[in-house]
Symmetry: C2
Subunit: 266 residues, 2 copies
Amino acid sequence: MTANIAIIGFGSITRTLLASLAGNGAVRVKNIVVRPERIGAPDHSWQDARFVSSIGELEADVDTVIEAAGHAALRQHAGDVVASGRRLVLASSGALADDAFRKGLEKTARETGAEIHVVSGAIGALDALATAQIAGRQAVHYTGIKPSRAWRGTPAEHCVDLDALEAPTTFFTGSAREVARLYPANANVAATVALAGPGFDATTVSLIADPDAALNRHVVEADGVLGSFRFETTATPLSINPRTSGTTVFSILSFLNSGSNSVRLV
Amino acid sequence: MTANIAIIGFGSITRTLLASLAGNGAVRVKNIVVRPERIGAPDHSWQDARFVSSIGELEADVDTVIEAAGHAALRQHAGDVVASGRRLVLASSGALADDAFRKGLEKTARETGAEIHVVSGAIGALDALATAQIAGRQAVHYTGIKPSRAWRGTPAEHCVDLDALEAPTTFFTGSAREVARLYPANANVAATVALAGPGFDATTVSLIADPDAALNRHVVEADGVLGSFRFETTATPLSINPRTSGTTVFSILSFLNSGSNSVRLV
């Protein structure tokens, strides 16, 4: 079975994904969705994929659309994807903190039968969060620790003097919903944890600037009727492009690959 | 969309699962598969489910078969489930350490289009393991820590004096495959980690008896090209039946529930 897919976005995540898909006979990239003014740009080509600027222009046999383009592109195209009954696989989960937007997508998906999948990206243990959530209430806390410089250009600058920090410093504590509002460029992991767990308001978050850190770290702690768990991860940048999130690319690949595996883990 | 399911086994996992499914309109339990001599037993009934002793007797519209009965039952029935093209959701992953058995199932599944799903059960972060595995080689180590008494009746008795331990003691280090052979009753978590990660031979395992522990703990540590992570969990017994693994029941429910959720986490 071949999956015919389209990808929204042609940035570094998409390009890394395409490079990894080059020899994959089970997945065919039929369309790539970009802004209208980019169609025809010299570097905008990949094998026989046709570049388009709207979901209405996708090939009829595209069954899965992958978003790897950011919150604005997700907001622009997700409704059309789901209305067309196609499977939406999204990376920019922070945009789903907007209840009206998310509930609109869910309502349309119920009508059309479309599926909406959120990739795990830089985080993991969403399986344990989802299982605990089914069992009942759970307390979930996410901590995001990044090098001080990673927080430049965000409201963190108004909380602490990022250049003067001498030890890891918590500059924000609040809900996943507040993270999505105040730190949209850093909101996807907190949002994904919230979606798998108790939601945007009940998921609590700490954000930490660490002057000595070289890499991003993520910690999820959960406590519920089934027990407790702690997940901690440190991401290594990809050598091919240090600014691309390797975990996002490979969690999309893991999703695409699962469809062709006989034995799947749930 | 209603899922019509059958369940193999009528032990405490199945009974807890049935109690949790009682009000679930999206899932209908059509058959329960038990040993022939149990059919007609006074306590063997549940709503309008028909008890049978083989996969050949399932209702034609059963699309999903859940195994919650142990390695022997999985070995007995899994081939017939997959040959019938139905989706198999299994808890007794330790049985898949038998390469001939697992590869036979995979071959049949490719021919019939059947899916085989392994539930996460007592462990989590299988998403992160699967993503890292797609990215390339990873080193994965699983540590199982149980109260000393939990290891009675296993080969651990020949390694240490379980009743005389005064501190947590590692009595086994080896591969997930060796665990499946030597500790079959304790093999499912190690096997599930191996299946999501680098396989039964490359996944290393430590088993620890802890005289002061009241609960089971599980730790997964992984290191690969995308980075590293550590997942640690402590399971609380269910008050309704302390011997039933709540995480297994609820990870099956989480799987069944995901089919009716518009937004899914992958």
